[in-house]
Symmetry: C2
Subunit: 138 residues, 2 copies
């Protein structure tokens, strides 16, 4: 069984620093919630986790398929519930990528493989949110 | 309805950079998965989100209760499933904190309020993982 451990230390104000597999990440919140906006907000950081997870899948799959691509980016757009605890109940992932016309179906296949088989973060999100994906070919 | 948007750009190798409410966070993976380990792994970053979310609740609640504290940190320990997609199916949050003997029940109350009412990230985790919490009074 694989386990992951993350240590997070309170700094001051509302700021915390996490040690994530040896890399430090600062988190904070805005002045409205008593913070200094010195780092990303924890909840929004989950959306970056989602993009990173599925993004790495796509790169890995396209590389295996010998598909050349450029200008790859991912936009994650999420809606929060109004009541506490506020959770993301709808998430849309837009993959933006430039590749040859004949490789577009391979990109669609890579997205499906990531969403349906490999991306653990997407699978976790699907437990609490409705998820949509789209591909924007540049 | 509140919405959050995070933009994430592919750099090279397996590295991506997210822009999270104006703050850049680099993500990467280890050499085993074709990366350069230049930043935290996306999945583990979810555990930092969890710690930051509940940690900010605790600080906010203790401040409102006029409870003095020091040496506050949070350890998140999580188990992954063996099959793809690999998800966290068990998560233990250990809150470590130093405060006066008479304030220990207030800390316990703060943890309960965060877990049961305020922390959206904890609520999202509860949709896919068994969750335990403990407080380690230093």
């Amino acid at each position: 069984m694989t386990t992951h451990t993350v240590q997070t230390v309170f700094n001051s104000g509302m700021a915390f620093t996490s040690d994530i597999n040896g890399h430090k990440v600062l988190m904070d919140t805005t002045a409205d919630d008593g913070g200094d906006d010195s780092g990303p907000s924890p909840k929004r950081m989950m959306l970056a986790s989602l993009a990173g997870c599925t993004g790495m899948d796509i790169v890995s799959i396209l590389n295996k398929m010998k598909v050349a691509f450029s200008d790859f980016s991912i936009e994650v757009h999420a809606s929060l519930t109004n009541e506490f605890p506020k959770i993301y109940n709808y998430v849309k992932i837009t993959y933006k990528i430039k590749l040859a016309e004949e490789d577009k179906t391979k990109m669609a296949k890579a997205v499906n493989l990531s969403q349906e088989k490999y991306c653990g973060v997407s699978a976790m999100f699907r437990a609490f949110a409705k998820m949509d994906t789209e591909i924007d070919f540049l």
